[in-house]
């Protein structure tokens, strides 16, 4: 699909009009009712998780969603442990730094491959693109060996280094920079801006929707990443939230209300962010997905 098509279909997705008038046509009523029931089923696991996290153990296994005696004791217990806050901060730092690095470099490389003409350009593009076919799991063993050799085990750097640039993002940004007219860049060049300034202050502001789409995608990927952080960390103080949650849940074994509280603590922040930025997130995921 061409760029304009991607843009318009992602935009059209968001423009899809919402009305607050219930349908009259019987077919539409049935369609809507079924869709609504489906949507309720979809969110049920999340609802039951949240519900269980505010229940006392004796009420935990009843089917009612609203607890008869709501309690925050589970949260107090889990947070008093102290490790959750640490894991949360670790995950946040790692996801933010990785996202910033990947968006910066992916945009820079995408721009260079799109707007500069030089020998070897095509070769580099193909080389970067070809890394998309290599599964992370294949690189994990050599990464682990590197980390062992250089002392990166149990460090933030060790968790972050594999994701500092992404081929997917480079490809995505290259596509979007095609939509930036060369005349703009030429005008800036005549005004005496150097190439870095042209990229940073002329081209980049023109692709902000793509940048935010990429940022959302990469942040989500890092926030939920599991296998690499699991391998590279053994010190609990450096665990990310998913790895910590696994450890915590195994410790609790049959105390399901505490496990659900831990799961809720890992989920609630994303839910809040989603409720605030819903439109941007859905649009961003659609844009990034359609390009991929």
């Amino acid at each position: 699909m061409s760029d304009t098509q991607i843009r318009t279909s992602a935009d059209a997705l968001m423009r899809q009009s919402t009305t607050y008038k219930p349908p009259r046509d019987p077919v539409q009523i049935i369609r809507w009712t079924l869709l609504f029931m489906g949507a309720v089923v979809m969110v049920m696991p999340i609802v039951y998780m949240l519900s269980a996290s505010v229940k006392y153990p004796h009420e935990m296994f009843d089917l009612n969603i609203i607890p008869r005696e709501p309690t925050f004791e589970n949260y107090l217990y889990v947070l008093a442990d102290g490790r959750f806050i640490k894991w949360f901060v670790n995950s946040l730092i790692i996801a933010i730094v990785t996202t910033m690095s990947a968006v910066f470099f992916d945009a820079l490389v995408g721009y260079t491959l799109c707007k500069f003409r030089f020998r070897g350009r095509y070769l580099i593009f193909i080389a970067i693109l070809s890394t998309l076919m290599i599964p992370t799991e294949m690189l994990i063993l050599p990464w682990y060996m590197m980390s062992l050799h250089f002392g990166w085990l149990d460090t933030y750097w060790g968790i972050m280094f594999p994701g500092l640039m992404t081929a997917f993002g480079t490809f995505l940004m290259k596509q979007f920079f095609e939509t930036v007219p060369d005349d703009f860049l030429e005008a800036a060049r005549i005004d005496g801006l150097n190439e870095f300034q042209i990229w940073w202050s002329v081209a980049m502001p023109l692709v902000t929707p793509a940048l935010s789409a990429l940022a959302i995608f990469i942040f989500l990927g890092n926030w939920t990443a599991f296998i690499w952080p699991l391998i590279v960390t053994t010190d609990q103080a450096l665990y990310t939230l998913p790895v910590g949650l696994t450890t915590f849940s195994v410790e609790q074994s049959v105390q399901w209300e505490l496990i659900m509280t831990g799961a809720a603590l890992a989920t609630i922040p994303t839910l809040i962010v989603f409720l605030v930025f819903q439109r941007y997130i859905i649009r961003g995921v659609a844009m990034a997905g359609l390009k991929g």
Binding site: K21, E137, F196, W256, G289
Partner: protein
């Protein structure tokens, strides 16, 4: 600086281009290409992380070929794919197709369907694991018993465990597929539908003759993307079978988990590397076959 100022504009731009690419090229060589080559080399070696790496020829591959666990794992990995991809695509298409025709509270419905995509696989694996517990703990069995149906053994049965672990993976991916399908549906020009309607064509024919063929690029993308995801399943299996990894009796163990265990529980790095090469080959072949079949039709 003097040297630089004497260059032509084109030459200056080339210098800038290589300056921009210097760090990324270093990154891709050291963090992507070298490890790829290293994994392939390692698959022909023996190494237990401590001693020296020694050459093993094809030993690791021969061992893999003769390993009954590997064949079991190979079958499981494809089961995740064969069940996961068609089921998730059919469900997400049906929802996207109907959601696209709905106006009332459209944004709210879409948000509800999308929500699970944002959850962490680890957290949701534990939620589903709780649901699957026997009476009086698990939600599903409690519901079944409240309507008088017998118990279902989900995670501790060799035949039910794999689909039970797959379910949360499908569930979490639906939101993404629905959004992509809806964007694809929106990209089809309205005039096609109008023309068909003037000709008095039925909804079913419109779906079969216009919507699905024009949606092909979207379908191809989603088939390849979700297949790669199911072939690499790990987070859910790891968290739902912590008491018996990949169990019961290896019936849920996917290839990625076998790699993890071979490398980090048995420290047979060379053997694990051979398994990663197999994973790489499987992903490549499956993607190419799918692209071939779907593009040609």
């Amino acid at each position: 600086m003097n040297l630089y100022s004497r260059l032509s504009i084109e030459r200056k731009r080339t210098v800038w281009a290589w300056a921009f690419l210097a760090v990324p090229i270093f990154f891709y060589v050291v963090i992507r290409f070298y490890p790829t080559a290293d994994a392939m080399v390692l698959s022909f070696q023996n190494w237990n992380l401590l001693g020296a790496r020694s050459w093993a020829g094809l030993d690791n591959y021969v061992r893999l070929w003769g390993d009954p666990v590997f064949w079991k794992v190979f079958r499981n990995t494809f089961m995740y794919l064969i069940l996961g991809t068609p089921i998730s695509l059919v469900i997400s298409f049906v929802i996207a197709y109907n959601l696209d025709k709905t106006r009332f509270l459209h944004g709210t419905l879409r948000a509800l369907y999308f929500l699970p995509f944002l959850t962490t696989a680890v957290a949701m694996a534990w939620v589903w694991r709780w649901f699957y517990q026997p009476v009086p703990i698990g939600l599903f069995n409690n519901i079944l018993s409240s309507v008088g149906i017998g118990q279902v053994r989900f995670l501790n049965s060799t035949s039910n465990a794999l689909p039970s672990i797959l379910a949360p993976a499908i569930w979490a991916g639906l939101g993404f597929q629905i959004i992509i399908f809806m964007a694809g549906l929106r990209a089809i020009p309205v005039s096609y539908y109008e023309a068909a309607r003037i000709d008095g064509v039925s909804n079913w024919t419109i779906l079969r003759e216009i919507t699905l063929p024009l949606l092909k690029p979207t379908i191809v993308f989603l088939v390849v993307f979700s297949s790669i995801g199911f072939l690499r399943i790990f987070d859910q299996v790891f968290n739902m079978t912590t008491n018996d990894p990949g169990g019961p009796l290896n019936s849920t163990m996917p290839l990625v988990m076998m790699i993890y265990q071979t490398a980090f529980s048995s420290y047979s790095m060379g053997y694990a590397a051979a398994q990663t090469v197999v994973l790489f080959t499987v992903l490549l072949v499956v993607s190419l076959i799918q692209l071939r079949i779907l593009r040609d039709r």
